[in-house]
Amino acid sequence: MLGVITQFVSRKQAPMILLFVLIILPLAIKSDYLMHVLITIGLYVVLSLSLNLVAGFTGQLSIGHAAFYGIGAYVTALLMLNYNVPYWATIPISGIITALFGLLLGLPTLRLQGDYLAIVTLGFGEIVRLVFLNWDSVTRGPMGLPGIPSPEIGSYMFFSKIPFYYLILVILIITILFMVRVAESEFGLSLIAVSHDEVAAEAVGVHTTRAKLLAFTFAALFAGIAGGYYATYISFVSPDSFTFMDSVTILAMVVLGGLASIPGVVIGAIVLGLAPEVLRFMADYRMLLYGALMVGMMIFKPEGFWGANKRVRNVILKNLDKSHHLTKRGGTNWPH
């Protein structure tokens, strides 16, 4: 099957064809439920790609990612409800505010490693959720913030799932393009170097402090944008949507998909996003099975659906090739 496809489609054409299918998909799907599932998966892909920057490329275990998602959602919701800011203007604002929180959480990474860092991110996630829950005068506590308006373009209001689908598709494409650029850039390589051995990376001239802080900042930025989208799409935010379990779900997508592998993480988000829907026929037993599958997956295929080792090696080889050509042509040793 795969062989037949690759005969007709080259590597370059494949993303274009996939994009075309994604663009015309709403024409074929008439069910609101299916559209909702697709939008949710899109949101999950953006979230897990953003976490992948920290947990995958940089190798810093973060289990509080839902906090950034939540901060983005609450900032967007509050701006739209209290100050009538249009959705489009809230994107940069909530993105930047969330990124600042990312920078803040990045600071402990300079001192802590491994499990200890994971604990700090966990504590951060819980504190953020508790602030949502207890800052009644602003967040209305457990009641949440209802009635968040939909985005508007001129006089056109987003009324159905279809415009929301295209909006998340645009956010998704921007995220993927950004992540692919990062993966192939020197910055991406420095992140991978940090994940492999921080001391060695420092020794070969990688600015590890900057690399780690930037990874956290960008991860938070994209999670914040996803959060803002969630707020306007669901039109309601409450502390229940940004719990420890949500952080864990996002992390599971990254790990089960394949750490540091962009296609892997996308597949992980799709599979885990679909699993609760596909397993719906099992009714009450589906989450039971979900937990068991997670254990089984770690035992039998710990590198994920699409392990990154090959991919990382390819990037490094490609970069080595480039520098090799440059030296042959009498250029500098390393392209900068």
């Binding site: 604990i119 504190i127 864990v248 989450m287 937990g291």
Partner: protein
């Protein structure tokens, strides 16, 4: 007011300490965070409830039997979900633990429903007044049981052959196995003891707060974990100290600052401790060699 909060804090703290011991013992040996531990605690609470309600057992036998049952559960969980991953990456066991946690919570919801249950008021709650400080019989029970179990653990770890093997394994797994220690058995025993202590804590918490429900392991687990880190994860006295300290701090904080931020105080404290002294109060300092 102050002494009342101190006593309440010590009660909560002794229960945190019992759960924290499970985290710290497993971390000491395997260097993994057993995220399913909070849910094992929850299963312990339910087992105790069922033994008391349906089998009409009295408190002490019900607690001992549920500790035994949950110890076996802990050993099985380790066999199935952690042992095959012992040589995998650090993330492997972590996610596997989260999978077990999801499984156990949903199992409890299917088996016993999502509503909150409570223990029958089998022993009348008496209150004692010590110069303005009110102590309930449940609080005394909880503290006495916790102290006895911790004493027992201390004796086990320091006076028995298995205890020596456990300490050796937590120093260095490879060296321990070269010295003829059956590391697999030691790990099983560790999981068994940790789970049994969590089960005891589960019953005490269920009695003290008068509530048993499937997601009760989440907050209790996180708090106990915080306590373990506070005291220095991997250190048994550290877990005891961390538990008591956390219980007292958050009760005093909730009384004098704000009730709603009780949990935030715990996590804030955790982050501050980690930033100032990452190894916790009684943790061993490990130098990173290059």
């Amino acid at each position: 007011m102050f002494f009342q909060q101190l006593v309440n804090g010590l009660t909560a703290g002794s229960m945190y300490a019992l759960i924290a011991l499970g985290y710290t013992m497993v971390y000491g040996i395997l260097k993994i965070i057993n995220f399913a531990h909070g849910d094992i605690f929850m299963i312990g609470s339910f087992t105790g409830l069922i033994l008391v309600k349906q089998f009409h057992m009295s408190f002490i036998p019900a607690m001992l039997l549920s500790m035994l049952i949950v110890a076996i559960l802990g050993i099985i969980v380790e066999r199935i979900a952690y042992r095959p991953l012992r040589h995998s990456t650090r993330l492997g066991p972590l996610l596997s633990a989260l999978g077990v946690s999801i499984f156990l919570v949903n199992f409890a919801q299917l088996a016993w429903g999502t509503q909150t249950r409570s223990f029958p008021p089998s022993f009348t709650i008496k209150t004692f007044n010590f110069g303005g400080v009110i102590l309930s019989s449940i609080q005394i029970y909880a503290m006495v049981v916790a102290i006895l179990l911790m004493l027992g653990l201390h004796l086990f770890v320091h006076k028995t052959k298995m205890g020596v093997a456990m300490r050796a394994t937590s120093h260095n797994v490879n060296t321990a196995s070269l010295m003829g220690i059956k590391v697999d058995n030691v790990i099983s025993v560790t999981f068994g003891i940790g789970s049994a202590l969590a089960a005891a804590a589960g019953i005490l918490v269920g009695l003290y707060y008068d509530a048993v429900y499937p997601v009760m392991g989440y907050t209790a687990g996180l708090k106990a974990f915080t306590a373990a880190v506070l005291g220095g994860i991997g250190s048994i006295p550290g877990a005891m100290l961390g538990g008591l300290l956390l219980g007292v701090c958050e009760n005093l904080g909730a009384a004098y600052l704000s009730m709603g931020y009780r949990d935030a105080i715990a996590f804030g404290l955790l982050i501050i401790i980690l930033l100032i002294k990452p190894t916790g109060l009684l943790g061993k300092n490990i130098q990173q060699k290059v």
